[in-house]
């Protein structure tokens, strides 16, 4: 991609009300545009990051037999009324709207009710189970306060997966598969080293749920962990009886700020019972489907990664999700010719800064935009038929021959 062909430019300043460092960088570097508090547009670079994150999640979920669907954002109240979750007293983050032909609709903050209802069409017998269906869907949450840039917004992209099993035993097998898939996903996203599966509150239907928490200074949550991080738990379950059960003492635990990047939940019959999602089992008896749900906030993960790796110069993207791999700068006519050729052969990997601007400005933008490698070709490097490759993360420079590039 030639930078001169893009409408996006780096900006000197972010909006004054934007206090999160990652959001300031994302706006200044041209990944997102702020519409208002809690509402962000994705610009070409940002959309590429989102698509890269989606691809990783999709591949790992398809690997464990999940199928992709896409449900509507507008919600018929009926199934939600059966679980008592259309009531604003019960769920206080609904956006609601009126149908011109009469009646109220909601904007889905999550999708347990419609997908449970949908499965009534497809699940009749034990032969139809298990079912694993997920979507990448825009969720709407009427947060009183949106904060931390794209970490907590009013409209965001989420991957939500729902499992439908015949009993607890087969549910547990899949639940474990998702745990493993999530670990692979965070590894591939570049968050493997600092993301931990934590014990979290399970609500009234399960003893624990699990969250995936990434250690992050500006994270909203606090997690507690032992020396080797074999036990990690959320603050909400830091209770004497839980510590006893896990065989660990409070004094042995350290704490850190963290941001939730995923959660997995055993739902049991919380939704399937009120919505009458039943099946006929091998023994001929009608039974209620056993459910689980598994979320990853896609745009939130992008924000966490931006926040986690940014330094005082700008963003630093892990290779697997960077919008391009290389920020290419050419100084001098001969170098420009070579750079043009490199870009035209690798338009999806190379962002070539072909703008009519001073090298110093290009160097600064390269740092702000944060692609994994910056390559500079100049008359000087061409004397040895090479280019200078700078690793954005380590700041180390190495010469590489032009052929190799």
């Amino acid at each position: 991609m030639k930078l001169s062909k893009s409408f996006v430019k780096t900006l000197r300043a972010a909006p004054k009300d934007e206090t999160a460092r990652s959001a300031q960088y994302l706006i200044r570097a041209g990944y997102v545009h702020k519409e208002m508090a809690g509402l962000y547009d994705f610009l070409p670079l940002g959309l590429r990051v989102i698509e890269n994150i989606k691809t990783i999640i999709r591949e790992e979920l398809n690997n464990i037999g999940c199928e992709e669907v896409q449900l509507t954002a507008l919600q018929n109240p009926e199934p939600w009324q059966k679980t008592n979750r259309f009531d604003d007293q019960e769920v206080d983050i609904w956006f609601k709207t009126e149908l011109s032909s009469g009646g109220e609709l909601g904007l889905a903050p999550t999708h347990e009710e419609p997908i449970t209802n949908l499965m009534r069409t497809y699940i009749e017998s034990y032969k139809d189970l298990p079912v694993y269906a997920y979507q990448f869907q825009t969720k709407f949450r009427n947060e009183l306060r949106a904060k931390s840039g794209i970490l907590r917004t009013r409209e965001f992209l989420m991957k939500d997966l729902y499992s439908f099993s015949s009993d607890e035993e087969s549910h547990e097998i899949f639940y474990h598969k998702v745990e493993e898939a999530y670990k692979k996903i965070y590894d591939r996203l570049g968050l493997g080293d600092c993301t931990f599966e934590t014990f979290a509150s399970g609500g009234i239907f399960a003893k624990f749920s699990h969250e995936f928490q990434t250690i992050l200074d500006v994270g909203e949550d606090t997690i507690y962990f032992n020396e080797d991080k074999s036990i990690v738990l959320n603050e909400e379950v830091l209770l004497p009886e839980v510590l006893d059960e896990l065989g660990v003492k409070k004094e042995e635990l350290k704490s850190a700020h963290a941001a939730e990047v995923g959660n997995i939940f055993t739902l049991k019959d919380k939704y399937s019972k009120p919505l009458s999602l039943e099946f006929t089992d091998k023994d001929g008896k009608r039974k209620t489907v056993f459910m689980g749900c598994y979320g990853i906030g896609v745009s939130r993960v992008m924000g966490v990664i931006a926040e986690k790796y940014a330094d005082e110069k700008g963003l630093v993207w892990p290779e697997n999700i960077a919008p391009y791999q290389v920020y290419l700068i050419a100084i001098g006519e001969k170098a420009e010719k070579i750079a043009k050729e490199i870009e035209s052969k690798n338009p999806e990997a190379v962002l070539y800064d072909d703008r009519d601007a001073r090298p110093g400005e290009k160097f600064k933008d390269a740092e702000l935009i944060g692609l994994p490698r910056r390559i500079v070709i100049s008359d000087k490097t061409l004397e040895t038929n090479s280019a200078e490759v700078l690793d954005r993360k380590t700041g180390k420079t190495t010469p590489v021959s032009i052929e190799e590039i």
Copy 2:
């Protein structure tokens, strides 16, 4: 893909309130699920069709230098108030909602205002022009009556492209490029032969706009065309002065029902003026940006194609957008072994019906689901080391050797 691994099953009947034939088939074949009037979920097969349509559109737009973005669905009223389009008297299909922290928001029925406003950040000088930005975005329209299945819904996927040029001349050049790109898109979608660019009303800012209309018995519109279809126009512009200008007589025109599958519009300064999207030109003067917009209803196109090609047995998908290329049926143990191998080598092209069901049932489902080719391998065909390939569109059967498959 093995059919036994999918939760979707073909259904004997569609909901009683579903009168459109394409929607009945799409529901029965498991492409979509109806939430309520005007709201459809996309199931795995349907989502694959949507993704195939998106890929074709994306490739052709990227080819003419467009950049992909994604704007929010929730709308700050401010820019819309400047064009007077937040008013329900002016635009009568808004879904509106309340922010819990106070204030009204809208759900975008289209995106001229926010994208014009966004470009104020990026367009300052003639050097920043032209800009061509598009998105695939869910639009919300509070239609009094939703109808024709996925042809007219309350929530739908649209590709909307916006162009920003320095003057009418450069706008016209791009407008023409979009016309050509659209023709390529409809060709690749399998609608080339029956889709025509028509003269439509241009509103108060341009003499004509253009629509792309696909001839379709159940289409909402009526188009008029001359013998060689060099002149095609919408009913709304069938006026004496227009016919004079085009040099054609009303008696020379035939009519047909048609469905709009795209439109292109010269906006001039309709939005850029009230939203003050200006640039400094070469002569140092401040000028208003010249805009155009270009839409394709992605889910609508899917409905039009479904409606256009379906026959009395079910759906018939053109190759380029079919969710899979082949519906594979094996009869007998030896055939099953070969079929399994073929599927495992081509999981993205082959839908293998490995269900424990009678061949007759599989043949029926193959017709309903409508993949371009049905391949049957049986002990009988294996006698000649071949398989029977049935073309869904023509109904013609040809033997093909197993090696060739």
